[in-house]
């Protein structure tokens, strides 16, 4: 019968369509590999040398748009770890961020970061400077454990002196309890 042939043809066509390769994210290493012979040559001291596959951060990003440190699609463009009141513990939700920056620094050993700790605006300036330092050291320690060398890291504090949010509500305080990762040259 005619309708059975049409159905069979449709099923075969459908199966063939399902077999085509899916459009997933491009392999980030593939872009880097393309860089080995090309765009990163000026920054890399060799294919396997100090510059690393991604050069000095000027190499191609995951989607080819440029600097991974500032590419909004890259976790590396996220620089802030937020903390609970009176706490310097890095919460689970921020561990992937710290991990990503650590891996970047391990691959790019000429890059350095300053980790700036901050607190909310209440209380003694100097005690808050020390609390902010603890928040910076907390992120730095995690990076050291992951394997980033000491000479690429410095932890400093702004305490309560440079608040990002200037109000006195709980949401403002939460914004200010923070460590920021800042790269050399920024």
């Amino acid at each position: 019968m005619m309708w059975k042939k049409v159905l069979l043809a449709a099923m075969v066509a459908g199966s063939l369509a399902a077999c085509s390769s899916p459009k997933g994210p491009t392999d980030p290493n593939a872009a880097g590999a393309a860089g080995m012979n090309g765009k990163n040559g000026a920054n890399a001291s060799g294919m396997y040398g100090q510059g690393g596959l991604n050069g000095s951060g000027n190499g191609m990003g995951a989607d080819g748009s440029g600097n991974p440190l500032t590419d909004p699609k890259s976790v590396l463009s996220k620089r802030s770890v937020f903390f609970d009141f009176d706490s310097s513990l890095v919460k689970d939700e921020y561990k992937p961020l710290v991990q990503a920056h650590s891996e970047f620094l391990k691959k790019n050993q000429t890059r350095k970061v300053i980790i700036q700790g901050n607190t909310d605006v209440r209380g003694s300036s100097e005690y808050n400077l020390a609390l902010g330092q603890r928040r910076a050291e907390s992120v730095k320690s995690m990076m050291r454990v992951i394997g980033v060398p000491e000479n690429q890291l410095e932890a400093v504090s702004y305490g309560k002196e440079k608040p990002r949010a200037t109000g006195m509500g709980e949401a403002d305080h939460a914004q200010n309890r923070r460590s920021d990762i800042v790269y050399d040259g920024e």
Binding site: S124, E126, Y127, L129, A130
Partner: protein, 428 residues
């Protein structure tokens, strides 16, 4: 509420003195007063109106801040003495006067001014103090402070602080800060350092010629020592990590500072000229806010080694520390009185940050403020008053307060938030 606050603040004999003196950029206003005050009369000195700012208004403003004096209104007494021989004692006694100061201004030789004043006990008609001075006209304000010092000493037996200076930081905006020095009444302010990054923790050297402070101008905290008259300065602590909280040893040779180069905030000593740092504190916690005792033998500091921040004390060479505060879970900013008789600090309780003074003799600690966000208490060199930073109407302001909490003065600026005050030493 602590008993003394009830007796000295709430009881009916509160006199509200709203004397306002505009001085440079800071406006000063006196509020409150204690009981049992000494009633002094300050009739206008002869020809004092020829001097900028006069004399008796400055003297009265100085004496009013101490909480020790009340002021007899000269307009209520029909007597205008400028010489002791002209004092009509019954008239002044009738107005409740306990002592009366008379004085006059005359032209001296070569453009100088001669000022003569005398302080007399109104009941006994005896002279308590007085002097004759020869000054340049532009020194009249400082002379008024000197006369206020002499009157204060004659009545209380304590040294006056009216010729001293204060330093403080003004935050004009998020990228504009000034470190300033002014007279203790806020007059004659000038800028030592202007920066687009924060400045915190100024500290006067014991001889009053240098200020240490923390500047963030190189994007991290670094300790500087700054010569006040020449304006020259050097970085004395610029180690890896954060450098902060400078505190002078009483002999002016060393600074205790807080460094994080070992991975957490600890107290070190450096020479006032910079150089190597020797670690003094020894904990795995935050140790910060060092403050030398008046005799230089010990260092008070804040530590959260027991969980929350509390005040501890250790020998000036480091070593074991003893805990000083045991009430409440947040006690910071230890500030020993210059005569060793008290310790001021800040306690956070129910979300409020307030200055407390603990008398060493009794161990009794009382709040001396009733505001919400107090910081940076600093004693005047005679230990009878403190200056501290607070917030009022959404702005940073300074207050002075007497040691018993009874009399307050507010210092405000139109230029921004004023913070981090520190009281300078006696002038030399």
């Amino acid at each position: 509420m602590p008993k003394f606050l009830f007796h000295y603040v709430l009881l009916p004999l509160l006199l509200l003195c709203s004397l306002s003196v505009r001085a440079n950029d800071l406006t000063i206003e006196v509020v409150g007063g204690g009981t049992n005050r000494h009633a002094i009369a300050l009739p206008e000195f002869g020809l004092e109106s020829a001097l900028p700012g006069g004399l008796t208004p400055i003297i009265q403003s100085d004496l009013a801040r101490t909480g020790v004096f009340s002021f007899v209104d000269p307009n209520k007494v029909n007597n205008r003495p400028i010489d002791p021989a002209q004092i009509d004692y019954p008239a002044w006694l009738g107005a409740g006067t306990m002592s009366i100061a008379v004085g006059k201004v005359t032209a001296g030789a070569g453009g100088t001014i001669t000022v003569e004043f005398h302080l007399f006990d109104a009941a006994r008609k005896t002279r308590l103090t007085g002097a004759s001075f020869s000054i340049q006209p532009n020194q009249s304000r400082q002379l008024a402070h000197r006369i206020a010092d002499m009157i204060y000493e004659a009545i209380t037996g304590k040294k006056g602080i009216f010729g001293t200076r204060i330093a403080y930081v003004i935050k004009h905006s998020a990228n504009s800060y000034s470190l300033q020095v002014a007279d203790a009444d806020g007059a004659n302010g000038f800028t030592l350092l202007r920066s687009s990054e924060p400045i915190i923790s100024p500290a006067w050297s014991p001889e009053g010629g240098r200020l240490a402070y923390v500047s963030f101008e190189s994007k991290k905290p670094v300790v500087y020592v700054h010569d006040v008259s020449s304006g020259s300065r050097r970085a004395v602590a610029n180690f890896k990590g954060s450098n902060s909280a400078p505190a002078w040893s009483p002999d002016g040779s060393r600074l205790a500072v807080v460094l994080t180069r070992d991975g957490h905030s600890q107290i070190y000593a450096v020479s006032a000229n910079g150089g190597e740092a020797v670690r003094l504190s020894n904990s795995n916690a935050i140790d910060t806010e060092p403050a030398y005792s008046a005799d230089g033998s010990r260092i008070y500091f804040t530590s959260d080694r027991a969980g929350g921040p509390q005040i501890y004390v250790m020998g000036a060479g480091g070593g074991s520390a003893q805990r000083v505060t045991f009430e409440g879970n947040y006690n910071v900013s230890p500030t020993p009185a210059p005569d060793g008789t008290a310790l001021a600090f800040v306690r956070r309780e129910a979300g409020r940050f307030r200055v407390m003074v603990q008398e060493t003799a009794t161990g009794q600690a009382n709040y001396v403020t009733d505001t919400h966000y107090d910081e940076s208490p600093s004693f005047a060199p005679n230990g009878q008053m403190l200056v501290y930073a607070s917030e009022q109407g959404g702005r940073g302001v300074l207050f002075t307060v007497t040691r018993d909490g009874s009399t307050k003065t507010r210092l405000t600026t139109s230029g921004g938030d004023i913070r981090a005050p520190v009281w300078g030493p006696y002038p030399r």
